[in-house]
Symmetry: none
């Protein structure tokens, strides 16, 4: 039997509740989605508890589930995923942190935070990271690596023996306060050692960055210098996650622009592609994502496309923009269908609901769509929160990829 | 409240996908099944994930689930079930193997395999097994027992202290090769001892069988002598499975002809009945199974009837034969209904789908039917994959027997 490709399309935070300004309809109900509805007509629709009923997923736990791993078993915090998502390599036992380029001034022998984000726009970040990786690549017996994410954001990875993630931040999380001293949160040699390393990194980063030519230039132009790296959110990669290749025998690629989500994808063995113009915002070039997906499907068994804009619009309460981003996902679906209809199993789903009336993730069941030429369709011909109630699927997030693999004729038998 | 009987009818691999030559209907949709549809009309229909969504079950794991045991918790390989299914008794710690009567010749002091199945037809098998059980019933301090399955097939059980199933086969799995030497697959005294025992069994079986009168007679008639036992697929019964009597207080009987499935039934405490004419193939005497079931229901609380023909037809891609085997299951259902309608809880289900277009087990949800006089019916009046989508049941395989026990007024309260 012929094996089919797998296409997983995720509209981040796409699920919603009735929106008063939309006549108590949802963005999925209001948006024009001819391609999603066509897939619904020929496939199955239903409700999915991404984690468990009523549990609001984070984007990281949600995607772990969508990739087939039970987040209750595998999730260990966002740190390592963020780092993976911006290109870091992580071994078991490594500690990952989020870092900010920030602006500090010396005052009475103390370093006081003036701007936690160094003005947010730091086009010199790549250059500064390069300098840090040259001059601050080792503290004690531990290797230190810096990775630029976006704007003022960094990932910092510690690689070496005897580390811990049970340490407090050097980021004081408040302007006007002195740079914080990282402290061990448990009385272990590992936590003590790691806290010392974080303090040394933060202080040395100031020594290295304060007179860096790029910062002297920024000051000359009246911009806040990016003269220190503040650290927060230590997380350790304790377990090696199983890879999709091992679980299902599939080679998968991820298309998106959101570090956290791409990091989860990388952690389960996907190759990461960020098309030019993909931003992780509502200004993203979603057409570029569609083209990238079709291109990748030539070589990969599975492509996962992540659209963050639906969630970004939701957190900001932007109704029209959310509707527009739903239509962007419909465009992506239609574009890929033009090439792979009949050759692939398609799944479309939010990773969670972010209702416009709430502006936060909620634990509502999400509408899920599964379309495969090998599957008997149900009688629901629209894809939205209301039609999904009448649909036939009733699954958990971690079941979705297994159903996709099954209808792609790729599942392995359990037993004889 | 009166206790009802339980009748579980399993069409092996009966679930299917749209079949082009049936106008994209399934065998269950096309077959004439007045009895199943009548039960659907008066009962409930729905979808069942026998193991978990998208996971293709083996027949052994599937039946563990159908008998109420989570296969992820209890499954340890097919070997012990196969042996139980052909009449072996197994204690915890025993090792079971599959054996073949084969034909070897001596060449330069080596035993070279000429026919791995000794011509397949070995009507003398019972006689040869009797001789083996007399002359080869002990190796070292371990008891050895031989059981004839069908044709050239045997089960061999080792009973004694310090055994292991981490040993390689003496079956070289290829004609023209010398008989293989079993080797320990782990460096343990148990594996070493067991490998030595397997080698001794295989070599001694040749000494015992080569001049056996039945073989001299075969050679005279130009048939390949069944002059050695080749061993493979060692499996250990590590856990004692809970019995249906202990779990649900029911005495159950199994009617079928497939060793692997009957072995699972026996492992959970069912008594096994193979009616004359039951073959495990599409030529089985299904009427004999129906009669046997009705007879057994006089004495037992539950009868399980297994029909393998649906699966056999599926693996061979035989569309018309599969339709006919579905109708055979309908006959069995109707025959038992004639005697026990109103007195029993009936469940009808595949153990998994084996779509004719795939010819292998798949992880599709299967259509399940539950009919009991004590249960409020839903509004679906047909039993097939498409009607089941609209049905009310959404369960896992291991839930089914618990629902049956419940509607039979036999379930025990959990809690006070």
């Amino acid at each position: 039997m012929r094996k089919l490709k797998l296409v997983l399309l995720v509209g981040d935070g796409m699920g919603d509740r009735p929106v008063p300004s939309l006549g108590n309809k949802t963005p999925l109900e209001v948006a024009s989605t001819p391609n999603l509805d066509e897939m619904a007509r020929r496939g199955r629709v239903g409700l999915m508890d991404v984690i468990a009923p009523g549990v609001p997923p984070g984007s990281d736990t949600a995607h772990l589930a969508l990739f087939g791993l039970d987040p209750f078993e595998w999730y260990e915090g966002r740190g390592p995923f963020e780092a993976l998502g911006v290109g870091a390599e992580l071994d078991q036992g490594d500690v990952a942190l989020r870092g900010n380029f920030a602006t500090v001034k010396e005052e009475n022998g103390k370093l006081i935070v003036v701007d936690r984000r160094a003005g947010r726009k730091v086009p010199e970040a790549e250059e500064l990271v390069k300098t840090l990786n040259e001059k601050l690549n080792k503290v004690k017996d531990v290797e230190v690596r810096f990775y630029h994410a976006t704007e003022h954001r960094l990932a910092v990875v510690l690689h070496g023996p005897g580390l811990s993630d049970e340490v407090s931040d050097t980021d004081p999380h408040e302007v006007g306060k002195p740079v914080a001293l990282s402290k061990p949160l448990k009385d272990t040699p590992e936590a003590k050692k790691t806290a010392e390393i974080l303090n040394e990194i933060t202080l040395k980063s100031y020594e290295i960055l304060k007179d860096h030519p790029a910062n002297l230039e920024r000051v000359k132009r009246g911009l806040p210098p990016a003269n220190i790296v503040l650290l927060r959110g230590a997380g350790m990669m304790r377990k090696r996650l199983p890879k999709l290749q091992e679980l299902f025998g599939i080679r998968a690629a991820a298309v998106g622009a959101t570090a956290l989500v791409l990091g989860v994808a990388k952690a389960v063995g996907m190759d990461i592609y960020v098309p030019k113009g993909a931003t992780g915002g509502i200004d993203t070039d979603y057409r570029a994502k569609a083209r990238e997906a079709v291109k990748l499907l030539e070589d990969y068994d599975m492509v996962f496309v992540h659209l963050k804009g639906t969630d970004a619009a939701s957190h900001d309460g932007l109704v029209e923009e959310k509707v527009r981003m739903v239509e962007a996902l419909d465009y992506i679906a239609g574009y890929i269908m033009d090439y792979y209809d009949g050759e692939a199993v398609f799944a479309v789903t939010p990773d969670h609901a972010t209702p416009l009336t709430v502006k936060e993730h909620t634990g509502d069941p999400v509408p899920v769509l599964l379309y495969a030429p090998t599957q008997i369709p149900d009688e629901v011909g629209e894809y939205n929160e209301r039609s999904a109630i009448k649909g036939s699927l009733r699954i958990r997030g971690k079941d979705l990829i297994r159903l996709m693999v099954n209808y792609a004729n790729r599942a392995k038998k359990f037993g004889a």
